[in-house]
Amino acid sequence: SQQGEEDPQALSIQEGENATMNCSYKTSINNLQWYRQNSGRGLVHLILIRSNEREKHSGRLRVTLDTSKKSSSLLITASRAADTASYFCATDASGSGAGSYQLTFGKGTKLSVIP
């Protein structure tokens, strides 16, 4: 099955700076989602962008999607120490059948925001 790949694997920034994480995937999708995971906990949904959308905002989060390049980016502006977590992108597979129900996650970007 296809899998999103996040880049970089780890990112360390100072509080107040912006953080950008990228995700690449292999085949056509219906939507792409970003999740956050605090250490040892379950994942929390951040934002969903559909294949016919190019950009989406939610608070300090900005997500872009470029289906021609099969890539997405997550920008966190004015980062805070509380943003320290792992961030994952997840994709489905467009078309009919069970593949479109299956959400496949990348390995994540570990973000550290230093106070």
Partner: protein
């Protein structure tokens, strides 16, 4: 507040034991999922279910089975636990989103439980 509840936060079992991991959601979601998460490997899908009594294999179903007798409950079963099944297990659920103009559906956002850290000794 919406909730996905996993029966145990930590679990320690012996090799060869039959292990049940339970997951309950209170949002009337059609879809439910079991993932395992290992360092350096990310989340990998074990099984998912899009309806009661329906199940589909994910990427790594070997050594696992599932049961969905009621819409709100999705159980993961390790028939004979082995040490390589030591992992964090995450349950999730979601609604369908029916794709306009297409004969297919995909997932809305997933809601995750807090996870079960299983150690098999």
């Amino acid at each position: 507040d919406v909730k996905v509840t996993q029966s145990s936060r930590y679990l320690v079992k012996r090799t060869g034991e039959k292990v049940f991991l339970e997951c309950v959601q209170d949002m009337d979601h059609e879809n439910m999922f079991w993932y395992r998460q290992d360092p350096g490997l990310g989340l990998r899908l074990i099984y998912f279910s899009y309806d009661v009594k329906m199940k589909e294999k994910g990427d790594i179903p070997e050594g696992y089975s599932v049961s969905r007798e009621k819409k709100e409950r999705f159980s993961l079963i390790l028939e004979s636990a082995s040490t390589n099944q030591t992992s964090m297990y995450l349950c999730a659920s979601s609604f369908f989103f029916f794709i306009q103009g297409a004969s297919s559906a995909t997932n809305e956002k997933l809601f995750f439980g807090s996870g079960t850290q299983l150690s098999v000794l």
